[in-house]
C-alpha cells in the first residue's frame, strides 16, 4: 500500500507523519504538493496537521479549494482511503467528506498535552484491531478541536457506528472531566458512512517513535496497517 502525504502551504506536521510512515513503519510514501493535480498512484491519502493557508478564515476553510483536493474528493468517493489528522480533519469537515465541524476549544485557548482516547467503532480499519477497553495515550495540539454536529448528523453517526475515538480518562472511562475541548459526546475522531474517510484531532504520529517513550500511537498505525493490508 502506498501512502500519499499532502503538504499544503502552512502544513507543519507533514514531515512528522512521513517520518513515522517511512522510517518507523517502513511503508512507501509519496510526498504530494497542494498544487498537484494527480495523486501519483497512492492508495491511502493523509492530510497532516498544521495551519493550512494560515487558517486565517476558518481552520481548513481555504485548503479545501486547493487543486489537489478535487482529486482527494474523487479518490474518497471511489472508495479510496483518506485520513485527516488535526488540521487535516478540519479540512475534511470543511470539504464535506466528513460530517460536522470543529469549533474553538471551550476555553478559547490552544491546548497541547497528552490525552487519553478510547476506541469506539470496531468496524473501521483504524480501530478494529485496538483494545476497546484501553485508554490510548495520544497528544492533542489545537485551538479548534471542539467537535460539533447537528442532531440529525449525530443520529446518523451513531446509527452507522462512525465514531472512531472518544476522549477518556486514564482508566478508559469517558467522562466530562476527560473532555479537553468541549467536543460533543467526547468525540475525538470520526469516519464517513462508507468507512474509508477518517478524521481525528489527536496526533497518533506524535506517539509512535520509541525514542519519545510514548508509543500508543504506533499501536493505532500497526492495527490500521494490519487491517488495511488484509
Amino acid at each position: 500500500m502506498k501512502f500519499g502525504v499532502i503538504t499544503f502551504p502552512g502544513s507543519n506536521c507533514d514531515q512528522d507523519i512521513i517520518y513515522v510512515l517511512r522510517d518507523v513503519l517502513m511503508q512507501p510514501v509519496e510526498e504530494l504538493w497542494h498544487k498537484d493535480t494527480d495523486l501519483k498512484g497512492c492508495d491511502f491519502i493523509i492530510l497532516p496537521g498544521g495551519f493550512s493557508y494560515g487558517d486565517y478564515l476558518r481552520s481548513g476553510a481555504i485548503a479545501r479549494f486547493s487543486p489537489v483536493m478535487s482529486e482527494v474528493v474523487k479518490h474518497a468517493n471511489s472508495g479510496g482511503y483518506v485520513m485527516g489528522i488535526c488540521n487535516g480533519f478540519q479540512i475534511l469537515c470543511e470539504s464535506g467528506l466528513l460530517p460536522g465541524v470543529l469549533r474553538h476549544n471551550e476555553n478559547q485557548k490552544f491546548i497541547c498535552k497528552n490525552v487519553h482516547l478510547k476506541p469506539a467503532s470496531s468496524s473501521t480499519i483504524i480501530t478494529e484491531n485496538l483494545d476497546k477497553y484501553k485508554a490510548y495515550k495520544i497528544p492533542i495540539a489545537h485551538a479548534e478541536g471542539n467537535y460539533f454536529a447537528t442532531p440529525e448528523q449525530m443520529k446518523e453517526i451513531q446509527d452507522n457506528d462512525q465514531v472512531l475515538f472518544r476522549y477518556c480518562n486514564e482508566e478508559a472511562q469517558v467522562t466530562s472531566g476527560s473532555n479537553p475541548n468541549g467536543s460533543l459526546d467526547n468525540i475525538a475522531g470520526i469516519c464517513n458512512k462508507s468507512k474509508n474517510v477518517f478524521g481525528m484531532m489527536p496526533h497518533p504520529e506524535r506517539a509512535a517513535d520509541f525514542e519519545l517513550t510514548s508509543t500508543d500511537g504506533r499501536e493505532i498505525f500497526d492495527g490500521m496497517l494490519k487491517a488495511a493490508l488484509v
Binding site: P9, N12, Y19, G54, F110, C112, A141, L212, T213, S214
Partner: protein, 751 residues
C-alpha cells in the same frame, strides 16, 4: 561622486535629537559625510546608531566575554547567530533575543514578532529551527495589567510559534514588581544545519544582484529600533506604530523557500530584516563584504501607496529577507519563491566601494558609507560611568540570626505555601498553550528533565537546551548572580546527561546612563565571563536590551532587576543517556551531592514569604560547581543513578516535590542537625544536585563519589506517596501536586 537629491531637505539638530541622536553624534555624522545629511540619511544614522543596532554603550564590555572554543564554527558577532559543531557534519545555530518594549505596549504582537524575528535569525543562516524556548518576566500577578500582559504575551508566542511549527522545549516565567510596567520577553531558537552549508550575511562580488524576498513592505514598525532604545514611559502607547505585526504563515513559507534556496548554489549571502529593515540589512551586508550597493526603492513591493523613502528604509515589516544572488542565477531564486507564492524582487546590485545608495523616482534619496554605520565600523562606542548602588552594602549586612527559626508547624505551612507561589508553582497554564511536541523530537514530553532534550533524528545524538536567570540573585549581587545563572544552566544540562557546550545571552537592564544600572551591567559581564571560562562554554552571541524600567506613580522610574538571561546548549553524544528528574521506584535511595548550608540569601522563602528585600546572593562556589556537575555526568554515564534534579528556586523541599510529582511518589528524609530547618528545606544555596538510585547500586555509587572527592549525603528514600521530614508528616504528594499544578490558573482566574 553622485548627486544626492535636494528634494529631501537637510536635517536639523532638532530632528536628530528627536530621533534619539545626541548633539555630538550629529556632529560626527556631518564630519563623516563631509556635509549635512538630508532627512532620509539622518533617519538611517539614527536607527543604525541606536543602542539596539550599534551596541554603543555595551560593546566595550561585550568584547571582554570569552568567544573562543575549538567547537565554535561561527563566533559571536560574525553572523546572525553563532554556530557550534555538534559532530556528524552537523552544526547548531542558536540565539536569544529580547522583544521587551513592543511587548510592554502591545503584548500579543510584540511577543509574536519576537518569535518570528529570532527564528529568521536562525534560518537565514541555512539552519532549520528545531526548538524554541522563552524567558518571560512580569510584575506582580495580583494585578489586572499583569494578567493582561501575561495572557497577551503567551497567546502571541503560542499563535506565532504553533503555526510556524517549531516546538517550545523549555522556558521560565518569573514575577517581580520591578517588571510591573516593563515585562521582559526573551525568545530563543535553535536550528540544525549541515556545516558545509552555512549561509553568510555578507554581500560580495560587484555586479551580483540584490533581492528582497518574502512579504511586502508597509508602514509598520517604523523606527522600532529607536523605540527599543529609549525608556518606557506613560506616553509609550503613542509609539504604537513602532510595533510590528507578525504573520506566521508567511514566515513558514519563507522558511521553506529559504531552506530550498540554501540547497542551491545561487546565494552569495542572506540576512533577515529585523530592526531597521532594508537599511540595516543592506548596510550590514555591504560592510561585512567591504562592498557597496545600489538599491532602487521603487522596486520594493509595498503594502501602501505613496510611501516616503524613509518609511521604506526604516519599515520593520516582518517576514522579509535581503538576498545577494550570483549574477546569472536569478532564475533559480525566482522559481523557488514562485513555488511558495512569495515575492522575490530584484531591487539592486552590489557595487565596488563602500557607498550604499538608495534611489527613488530616478533620484538618489540617500547615500551613506556602510562602514560608518555599523558596529565595529564608524558607529560610536562609549564608556559609561558606573557606581555601586547603596542597596548593595545593605545586602551584605544581612544576618541570618535576625530571622527567627520557625517551629515545625510553621515549617509545614511554609512548605505548602511555597509550592503555590507564582515563581515556584507549575507554569502549566502557560506551556499548555504552546505546541511542545510538533516535530516529534521533544524527548521530554514523557520524560521530564532539567533541560529540554531534542532528538537529532538519524543520529545517535540529542541536544539539550535551557534558559536560566534568577534575576533576584543578579540584583542582589550582579557578579555572583550572573555566575549562578550560567552555573544553573550548566547544572540543568548536566543533570540530563548532556555536556554544556556554549551560551547565548540576552542582557536586559535599565538605562545605561544611570551609573548604578551600569554598575550592574559591568558586574554581570564579569560574572558571566568567569563562569563561561570555568564551564568551557563560549558566548556565541545574543542581544542587549537597555532602557527597561518600571514607571512609578509619581512619574519617577526604577530599573527592572538586572536580567542577563542565559540560553545554553548542551550536546548528548548518546541519547540513551537521557536522564529524567522523576523518582522511579518506591524504596529508592535519595542522595544529595554538595552540602547543605545555613543560607537563606535571596531565597523565595526569605524574599517573598518573609518579605526581606535586602540579602546577599545565595552561597555559591564556582570550582565546587564545576566538579559536582562533572560528577553527575559521570554517574549518568556509568548508569549508577536513575534520576537527577538540581536544587534551585524554592530550595530542597521544592526540588524533592518536583521529583515526586510525575510518578506520584513521596519521600522520607532526615534533616541535618548542623543546619537550621528553614535553611535546610527552603534555602537556595547553590551547588546541590539530588539523585535517586536503586539500593543495589549504592556501593558503586558511593565508590564513584569517593573517587571524585564530592561531598554527598544520604537524605532518605522514596515512598509510595507520603512526605516525611524527620518523622513529621508533611502530607501526600498528590496534595502537593494539586497545589503546584493549579496555583497559577487559580491566580489568573481570580478577579
Amino acid at each position: 561622486m553622485s548627486i544626492v537629491s535636494t528634494s529631501v531637505a537637510e536635517a536639523t539638530l532638532e530632528q536628530a535629537e528627536g530621533m534619539g541622536l545626541r548633539p555630538e553624534e550629529f556632529e560626527m555624522i556631518k564630519e563623516i559625510m563631509g556635509r549635512t545629511p538630508n532627512f532620509t540619511e539622518m533617519c538611517i544614522y539614527s536607527v543604525m546608531w541606536s543602542e539596539h543596532c550599534s551596541y554603543k554603550n555595551s560593546i566595550k564590555w561585550l568584547k571582554t566575554l570569552p568567544k573562543k572554543g575549538s567547537h565554535m564554527l561561527v563566533e559571536a558577532g560574525e553572523e546572525n547567530a553563532g554556530v557550534v559543531d555538534i559532530g556528524d557534519g552537523l552544526g547548531c545555530a542558536f540565539k536569544i533575543e529580547s522583544h521587551n518594549h513592543p511587548s510592554a505596549i502591545e503584548p500579543y504582537q510584540g511577543a509574536a514578532t519576537g518569535v518570528g524575528g529570532i527564528n529568521r535569525d536562525i534560518f537565514t543562516m541555512g539552519a532549520r529551527p528545531i526548538a524554541q524556548l522563552n524567558s518571560l518576566r512580569f510584575g506582580k500577578l495580583n494585578n489586572e495589567k499583569t494578567k493582561w500582559l501575561l495572557e497577551g504575551v503567551v497567546k502571541g508566542i503560542g499563535d506565532y510559534g504553533n503555526a510556524f511549527g517549531i516546538p517550545v522545549v523549555g522556558g521560565e516565567v518569573f514575577f517581580d514588581e520591578s517588571y510591573q510596567t516593563n515585562p521582559l520577553v526573551n525568545a530563543m531558537s535553535a536550528g540544525i544545519l549541515s556545516t558545509d552549508k552555512i549561509i553568510s550575511a555578507t554581500a560580495k562580488g560587484p555586479g551580483n544582484s540584490v533581492y528582497i524576498v518574502g512579504s511586502a513592505t508597509g508602514k509598520d514598525g517604523i523606527q522600532g529600533a529607536s523605540f527599543a532604545s529609549k525608556d518606557i514611559t506613560a506616553d509609550s502607547a503613542n509609539d504604537l506604530p513602532s510595533v510590528q505585526v507578525g504573520d506566521p504563515f508567511q514566515e513558514k513559507l519563507l522558511l521553506e523557500a529559504s531552506l530550498e534556496l540554501a540547497e542551491t548554489d545561487a546565494v552569495v549571502g542572506m540576512q533577515d530584516m529585523g530592526a531597521a529593515g532594508i537599511t540595516c540589512s543592506s548596510t550590514e551586508m555591504s560592510a561585512a563584504g567591504k562592498v557597496g550597493m545600489k538599491i532602487d526603492l521603487d522596486k520594493v513591493p509595498k503594502r501602501q501607496e505613496d510611501m516616503k523613502p524613509f518609511e521604506i528604509l526604516l519599515s520593520e515589516s516582518q517576514e522579509r529577507m535581503l538576498v545577494v544572488v550570483h549574477k546569472g542565477k536569478e532564475k533559480i531564486v525566482e522559481d523557488i519563491f514562485e513555488k511558495w507564492d512569495l515575492h522575490a524582487v530584484e531591487i539592486g546590485e552590489v557595487v565596488e566601494g563602500d557607498k550604499v545608495t538608495f534611489s527613488m523616482k530616478g533620484e538618489i534619496v540617500a547615500e551613506v558609507s556602510a562602514h560608518s554605520l555599523v558596529l565595529g565600523g564608524g558607529a560610536p562606542v562609549y564608556d559609561r560611568e558606573s557606581k555601586e548602588p547603596a542597596y548593595y552594602a545593605e545586602n551584605l549586612k544581612f544576618n541570618i540570626d535576625d530571622i527567627e527559626v520557625p517551629d515545625m508547624d510553621r515549617i509545614k505551612r511554609i512548605a505548602a505555601a511555597l509550592l503555590g507561589l507564582p515563581n515556584i508553582a507549575s507554569k502549566r497554564w502557560v506551556w499548555e498553550q504552546y505546541d511542545t511536541m510538533v516535530g516529534t523530537a521533544n524527548m521530554c514530553t514523557n520524560k521530564p528533565s532539567d533541560a529540554g532534550i531534542v532528538n537529532i533524528k538519524g543520529t545517535n545524538k540529542a541536544i539539550a537546551l535551557t534558559v536560566d536567570c534568577n534575576a533576584r540573585y543578579v540584583n542582589n549581587d550582579p557578579e555572583i548572580g550572573t555566575q549562578i545563572a550560567v552555573a544553573e544552566a550548566a547544572r540543568n544540562i548536566s543533570c540530563t546527561g548532556a555536556v554544556p557546550s556554549a551560551i547565548t545571552n540576552c542582557l536586559n537592564f535599565g538605562n545605561p546612563y544611570n551609573p548604578e544600572v551600569y554598575w550592574q551591567f559591568e558586574g554581570a559581564i564579569k560574572g558571566m565571563s568567569r563562569a563561561c571560562v570555568a564551564f568551557g562554554t563560549p558566548v556565541t552571541g545574543g542581544n542587549v536590551s537597555f532602557y527597561n524600567q518600571t514607571a512609578k506613580e509619581d512619574g519617577a522610574a526604577s530599573p527592572v532587576f538586572p536580567t542577563p538571561t542565559i540560553g545554553m546548549l548542551g550536546v548528548m553524544k548518546d541519547k540513551s543517556l537521557h536522564t529524567s528528574l522523576d523518582f522511579k521506584y518506591k524504596g529508592d535511595l535519595i542522595f544529595m551531592l554538595g552540602d547543605s548550608k545555613n543560607c537563606l540569601g535571596s531565597s523565595e522563602y526569605l524574599s517573598t514569604l518573609l518579605e526581606v528585600k535586602n540579602s546577599p546572593a545565595p552561597y555559591f562556589n564556582l570550582e565546587e560547581e564545576v566538579k559536582i556537575q562533572a560528577c553527575v555526568r559521570g554517574l549518568i554515564e556509568n548508569n549508577f543513578i536513575n534520576a537527577a534534579h538540581d536544587v534551585s528556586d524554592g530550595g530542597l523541599y521544592t526540588a524533592l516535590v518536583e521529583m515526586g510529582m510525575p510518578g506520584l511518589l513521596g519521600f522520607d528524609i532526615v534533616s541535618d542537625s548542623e543546619i537550621r530547618m528553614d535553611a535546610f528545606l527552603f534555602g537556595e544555596a547553590q551547588g546541590r544536585i539530588l539523585v535517586s538510585l536503586v539500593e543495589e547500586d549504592e556501593d558503586n555509587f558511593l565508590d564513584y563519589i569517593g573517587e571524585q572527592g564530592i561531598n554527598c549525603t544520604l537524605l532518605g528514600h522514596v515512598t509510595k506517596g507520603k512526605i516525611h521530614v524527620d518523622g513529621d508528616h508533611f502530607g501526600f504528594i498528590n496534595e502537593a501536586k494539586h497545589t503546584f499544578d493549579t496555583s497559577l490558573e487559580k491566580r489568573m482566574a481570580a478577579i
